[in-house]
């Protein structure tokens, strides 16, 4: 997920994080199959902002690099 560039889309395959962080992401609706869109990188390169189910959320690379994605084109309804 950390390799996603601004404007690109992906679908979550696997979340390689445990405990608190894993649950936090689930609370935000991030489960396998969820679409994420990279919307912007912070000025120092990390964290990166993603649109997840309609909300913009900032994640650090240390976490997002543990999330595997399959690149996708993004469906019509932006979710």
């Amino acid at each position: 997920m950390s390799q996603l560039k601004s404007g690109e889309y992906g679908r979550i395959l696997h979340i390689g994080l445990e405990d608190t962080m894993r649950r936090r992401l689930q609370d935000l609706g991030m489960i396998p199959g969820t679409q994420v869109e990279c919307v912007g990188v912070s000025p120092l390169g990390d964290p990166v902002a993603y649109r997840i189910r309609g909300a913009v959320v900032a994640l650090r690379k240390s976490e997002s690099s543990e999330i595997q994605l399959r690149r996708s084109r993004g469906d019509g309804a932006w979710k």
Binding site: S6, T20, M21, R24, D27, V56, V57, G76
Partner: protein
């Protein structure tokens, strides 16, 4: 609380969906509202008129789910699950309904007495999002109200629903038919095994299915809360233990690990929310929203972000300094001419001279100084800051700065607590609850007072103006102090990073935070309301506290200056005692004494210093800046003294209120002591260092 027949309603919802706005709209109270997640960290309570009777509304901190992660979310979960409210209003953001539904579904598993408020409909309409409320109501089985709490749209409808809820409570009829969320078949099978046992163990619990699911989930902090709330440990109940054993056996047979079980439970809610949202939410605009708004590209842009943040800082300071100048002078003129009148009035009466001197030159004068120096800058600074907060600027700053916090191994949300600290350190310390990891939270608490709070601004601004800046045209007279002030703030931020980095490497290791921060959409601030509320609530509150602290400090100074011991006044003794330490740090004994007496509130440091200089007898008129400058210069102040005083003002012990707050939040005496030691040590070091450099450079 419940026996009075009064309805108790909890307000729940994701962070930053307008719960506090709705709370204010319902209760007429003025809970502080800001556009960032985690602003409300405590349950706030208010009452609201429903029909002819009143009901209690409780604003609960925002949470994403009932599986709490941070201290504030625990507050929310415990109240929603075990506080036994008569009803829960779950507030959702119409623009982000799906995630709100995730929480709604989880709450519906706990209780059926729920009303769903789809808030921010006005924003959603602008984004061309429409929501089929009938269908939503059908899917959830509970009342749904569409509203925009800010404009008041839908409030009456909501009150109607609350009235219905009240009727249902007393008639006991017409309970909503709610279909609780199904887990996958295997999970349902486990639940079927557990639920009967839970029913035997807790015969009174209305939500046995939810309890069973929590036992299956095996979340430690929740099990503790269950124990406390229901007064019984389910793990001591034989039937529950047996059932759990059966379940674990079945899990092993099917090779389902605990982690996977939790995943599946979470996924059931997420997927059902997704399904409902897909049917209910319609986007009439086929065009996808742009990647990032133009504003965001500037504020978080690679090149522009830092200059823009600095300009914002500079702008706020400039407006504060330039705007406060004249009102400050008018106020102090008025207050001191009033003093002359009271003085001439009181000397004509039979009041003894020493008492009138004590009251007027002691107490009144310090209070007058505090008011005239503090009120104008605060009345400008607070509203400006609140405007930025309302617009959604603060989370962007945290987003920009997070990399620096990563380097310090702390949480990026510390930037938010630091910005709250600029308003008031005590508020900043409470705000640290938004940080999940206890260790990173502690670091944020311990370093918060390194950021100068609003109460220190009058001293900073006037000392900078008197000693570091020459006079000039009006615009320059404000821009340059603003610049210097901004540089001093940068220094304090730098010190915060330094202290955080050292702390994170020395404190016992702990779990790192899960840094997930939401960037809310920009919202147009409600300018009128911001102005009124921030002046009335924050400014007057802080000012009141400062005046309360100023009066006794003025009294003490007056007594110390006028009680003689061995030929010298107590004041001279105390200042003489502190003199060597003060000199070492490039200041003098009186300045140190001022900081010590300023412990109740930072605002009174400069007035106390002036008071101590003039208390000896020479009663100068202090209405003019040049007069203050003269007093200071007569007492040996130079630009070097000024710099050391400024440094010490940035870095010294936190005020009394902050210390108490730190103790309450950290619950350990030693952390409170450390929170006092860290800034003090840094201040002493910096001042001594600066003074030594000045000496070596051949000054004084």
């Amino acid at each position: 609380m419940k026996n009075t027949g009064e309805l108790v309603i909890a307000l729940a919802g994701n962070p930053n969906v307008g719960k506090s706005t709705l709370f204010n709209a319902l209760t007429g109270l003025h809970q502080h509202v800001g556009n960032w997640s985690g602003k409300t960290v405590e349950n706030a309570q208010g009452s609201c008129q429903i029909g002819s009777e009143s009901c209690t509304i409780i604003d609960v901190p925002g949470c994403y789910s009932l599986m709490a992660r941070s201290a504030e979310e625990e507050v929310a979960r415990d109240f929603l699950c075990f506080g036994k409210p008569d009803g829960i209003l779950v507030v959702c953001d119409a623009g982000c309904l799906e995630r709100g539904l995730n929480l709604v579904l989880q709450i519906l598993e706990v209780t059926k007495r729920v009303i769903v408020c789809v808030n921010l409909m006005d924003e959603a309409r602008k984004k061309k999002i429409s929501i089929d409320l009938k269908k939503l109501r059908h899917h959830l089985g509970v009342p749904v109200v569409a509203m925009s709490a800010r404009s008041g749209e839908g409030i009456e409808e909501l009150k109607c629903e609350l009235e219905n809820m009240k009727k249902r409570k007393f008639s006991g009829r017409g309970e909503c038919v709610v279909k609780s969320t199904d887990y996958d078949p295997e999970m349902e099978c486990f639940l079927d095994l557990l639920e009967p046992a839970v029913k035997i163990c807790f015969p009174d619990a209305e939500n046995s299915r939810w309890l069973a699911a929590r036992l299956l989930d095996n979340d430690e902090s929740l099990l503790t809360s269950i124990k406390e709330a229901l007064g019984k440990n389910p793990m001591t109940c034989r039937c529950v233990v047996n059932a759990l054993f059966d379940v674990r056996l079945a899990m092993e047979k099917k090779e389902i690990r605990q982690e996977e079980l939790r995943d599946r439970m979470a996924a059931s809610f997420v997927l059902r929310a997704e399904m409902i949202a897909r049917e209910v939410v319609h986007f009439s605009c086929r065009k996808r929203p742009r990647k990032r708004s133009a504003t965001d590209r500037v504020i978080t842009g690679r090149i522009t972000a830092f200059p823009v943040m600095f300009l914002f800082l500079l702008g706020i300071f400039w407006l504060t300094i330039a705007g406060a100048n004249i009102p400050s002078r008018v106020l102090s003129d008025a207050l001191f001419s009033l003093e002359t009148q009271i003085w001439s009035g009181i000397t004509r009466t039979a009041v003894p001279l020493w008492l009138s001197e004590f009251l007027i030159h002691g107490i009144y004068r310090v209070m007058a100084w505090v008011i005239s120096a503090m009120l104008p800058p605060m009345a400008i600074f607070f509203p400006l800051f609140t405007l930025l907060e309302d617009a959604g600027f603060l989370p962007r700053v945290a987003f920009n700065l997070d990399r620096c916090f990563q380097k310090c191994r702390t949480c990026g949300k510390q930037a938010l607590t630091m910005m709250m600290g600029i308003g008031c350190n005590a508020v900043g310390v409470i705000g640290c609850r938004i940080i999940d990891s206890p260790r990173e939270r502690l670091i944020a608490i311990l370093t918060n007072s390194l950021v100068p709070c609003n109460g220190r601004f009058p001293l900073l601004i006037s000392v900078i103006g008197m000693f570091l800046i020459g006079s000039g045209p009006v615009w320059r007279a404000a821009v340059t102090p603003a610049m210097v002030l901004a540089l001093f703030l940068l220094l304090s931020i730098l010190m915060t990073f330094l202290a955080s980095a050292v702390l994170s490497r020395t404190l016992p290791a702990g779990l790192p935070s899960a840094f997930v921060m939401e960037l809310p959409p920009y919202r147009r601030p409600q300018i009128g309301r911001v102005l009124i509320r921030s002046v009335l609530d924050r400014t007057l509150f802080v000012l009141g506290r400062a005046i309360l602290a100023a009066a006794p400090a003025g009294a003490i100074i007056w007594i110390m200056a006028n009680v003689m011991a061995g030929g010298d006044s107590l004041l001279a003794h105390a200042a003489g005692f502190l003199e060597p330490a003060g000199r070492l740090m490039g200041m003098d004994g009186v300045i140190l004494l001022g900081f010590l007496l300023g412990f109740p509130a930072n605002e009174i440091v400069l007035p106390v210093i002036l008071m101590a200089y003039t208390a000896g007898g020479s009663l100068t008129d202090i209405t003019e800046v040049s007069a203050i400058q003269n007093i200071l210069i007569q007492n040996g102040w130079t630009w070097r003294t000024a710099i050391c005083t400024l440094l010490f003002s940035l870095m010294h012990w936190p005020c009394a209120t902050t210390c108490i707050t730190i103790f309450k939040e950290s619950r350990k005496f030693r952390w409170t002591v450390l929170a006092i030691m860290i800034p003090t040590a840094l201040g002493v070091l910096c001042c001594t260092f600066a003074a030594a450099i000045f000496r070596m450079a051949g000054f004084g």
